[in-house]
Amino acid sequence: MQPSNKTLGWMYQTMVTSRRFETVINKIYMEGKSPVFNMANGPIPGEMHLSDGQEPVAVGVCAHLTAEDIVTATHRPHHQAIAKGVDLNRMAAEIFGKATGLSGGRGGHMHIFDPAVNFACSGIIAQGMGPAAGAALSRKMQGKPGVAVAFIGEGAANQGAFHETMNMASVWKLPMICVIEDNAWGISVAKSKSTSVEKNHVRAASYGIPGHYIPGNDPWAIYDVAGEAIARARAGDGPTLIEVETFRLAGHFMGDAEGYRPKGEKEALFARDPIPAMRQRLEAEGRFTSSELDGMEAEAQARVDAAIRFARESADPKPEDALSAVFA
């Protein structure tokens, strides 16, 4: 399955939007956290897990999804949220903990919920699997269209919820796919030290479903394989497991000194940054002119700037707002 020009334009611009967003969030996150990194300080306190480098996975999959499809994501959700069409202004405001945020400041960066586009994320490893299966089940029971995508990391493939959910989704032929972002590190532990198989897609055989491994962090390849899996799910043929080789250019969480990464690993990764790589290929194939791509990038930046401005200018919640929204 090959993306159209229009789709390629969306994919590129979305990757750029995501990267520009992460870049400015990174900068603002570090405000107030110098000279010592105390997580509680600054306009964006708490933890921060950025997705730089993993953008191809988000756009390659979400290019096939509409607002009515469901996505569950992890503690590293921004690229997937942006690709799914989450309201960027209100997402930024939520990350800043403002009253105008998607959850009025109650969730923060790890708990982004946008029901309008069926996007949610959660901080406990692999626990987005069950809800994705449940949404898929719900659509099937109601005879309504929709595919659910659960994004997890490669470390999560060793967690019970992954195995239970994949088995159940297969037995019930649910319209669901599981996409594993393999960035090779579970905090400080390498995949080779924690996982009994070299590539998780082989585990699909345990559940009687197709499994695919996509090397190279390549948006075209991801688009192709994800497209087939999503089509399979829409046709009622059941779930698919996809593992994508990607990489994170930042630490596990901001503040991570990354002493566990071998020397030179990060430098080598920066050389493989998927965004300039995609731009080069789009220009080489004559898909877009240099000035069209510049225009897309400028638009992306403007959109990010507007979202950050909205967030900064929004008011804090009232302290007693903490006590509301517990029950519907």
């Binding site: 010592v36 990194f37 105390n38 997580m39 509680a40 306190p45 708490g46 933890e47 939520e94 903990g97 403002k98 945020g101 959850s103 400041g105 109650r106 969730g107 923060g108 960066h109 790890m110 708990h111 959660s122 901080g123 406990i124 490893i125 692999a126 626990q127 470390g155 999560a156 060793n158 967690q159 019970g160 919820a161 579970g186 905090i187 400080s188 532990v189 030290k193 924690s194 996982t195 503040g255 002493g259 566990y260 804090d316 919640p317 009232k318 302290p319 007693e320 707002d321 903490a322 006590l323 517990v326």
Partner: protein
């Protein structure tokens, strides 16, 4: 203070030191958890261990809590003494069967014949905007269910002693360490938690509270971070002519009810500071402990300064509004006295 070779430790270092000393003395002690080996633990509590004892005895696990905590139960029943880490107490949801149905009950189910000598260490606490799945204390949840001892130190001296006692105890012990007391540079630390820690191995008895500040007008009971709020409130109150006694529970199970009762019998007033949720937890248990025998005269109704019954919000203004702090404790004391 004049002291020969004063050495203060952070709680992180004190925990690592206790584990190291017990590992040197007993080859059946080993450590398992996520990022405990080369990283030395996300919270620094296994620092240096893999260098001294190697990756067989200090072992990084996959992200498989049900698997490795269940495995710790099995290993403990088979003659080993595992020290296993649940990185954040909030993660208990994925593995609680291994904890409350196996670790805590197998001794009882076997009529006392099977022992489960393991330590489950886990981080608690928020106040730094880590939101609802990474900031909880859950004291009540663990203390409520029978079969596991539960401890939580307020300072490095108690941390080392309680860890040593926990490893040597033949019963399973849940060792809860509060993130705000731990001594991690990337999270602020309560300076009062860093205290002198003797070099030799020693135990702090499990099940024994400590009166950490004597007073006559009101008893303030707490554990871990709450103890520091209580001490700061007590310092404020002294300026107002109110003498506050502070009791550091140190253990939730067994609960040292007698120390609490003796203190309130003396002062006649009780405030419980509880960072865990208000209802169905530690604060209610302490109040019941003081009231239910009807033999302690109270000069004022008991008060609890506890976290409200809401998930922990991310935004700083909301989280700080909910958390106990010294000012809230002092205000309550002034109302009572």
């Amino acid at each position: 203070m004049e002291m020969e070779n004063e050495r203060k430790l952070t709680i992180a270092r004190a925990m690592a030191e206790a584990i190291a000393q017990e590992m040197r003395a007993d080859p059946t002690v080993f450590v398992m958890g996520e990022d405990v080996a080369q990283l030395g633990g996300v919270f620094g509590n296994t620092r240096g261990l893999v260098t001294e004892f190697g990756p067989e005895r200090v072992r990084d696990t996959p992200i498989s809590e049900t698997g490795f905590i269940g495995a710790a139960v099995g290993a403990a029943q088979d003659g080993m003494r595992p020290v296993v880490e649940l990185m954040f107490v909030d993660f208990f949801g994925v593995c609680f069967d291994a904890i409350y149905n196996l670790m805590a009950k197998n001794t009882y189910f076997s009529g006392g014949n099977v022992k489960v000598p393991m330590v489950l260490m886990t981080s608690t606490g928020g106040g730094y905007s880590d939101a609802g799945q990474h900031s909880q204390c859950l004291y009540g949840t663990f203390a409520h269910l029978p079969g596991m001892k539960v401890v939580s130190p307020s300072n490095a001296h108690d941390a080392k002693g309680l860890m040593t006692a926990a490893i040597r105890d033949n019963a399973p012990v849940v060792f809860m360490f509060h993130k705000g007391l731990q001594g991690m540079g990337w999270l602020g630390t309560e300076a009062g938690a860093n205290v002198h820690v003797p070099e030799d191995a020693y135990e702090v008895p499990i099940g024994k509270a400590a009166v950490v500040r004597e007073g006559t007008d009101v008893t303030i009971v707490s554990i871990a971070m709450g103890v520091h709020h209580a001490l700061k409130a007590a310092a404020q109150l002294e300026a107002d002519g109110i003498s506050a006694e502070v009791v550091d529970l140190r253990s939730l199970v067994p609960l040292d009810r007698e120390t609490v009762r003796a203190s309130v019998r003396k002062t006649g007033r009780l405030i419980v500071v509880d960072e865990d949720y208000h209802s169905y937890g530690v604060s209610g248990e302490i109040i019941a402990t003081v009231c239910e025998m009807g033999d302690i005269q109270l000069k004022a109704p008991p008060r609890r300064i506890a976290y409200p019954d809401v998930p922990i919000p991310f935004a700083r203004v909301m989280e700080q509004h909910c958390l106990p702090n010294a000012d809230k404790v002092a205000a309550a004391a002034r109302e009572l006295c």
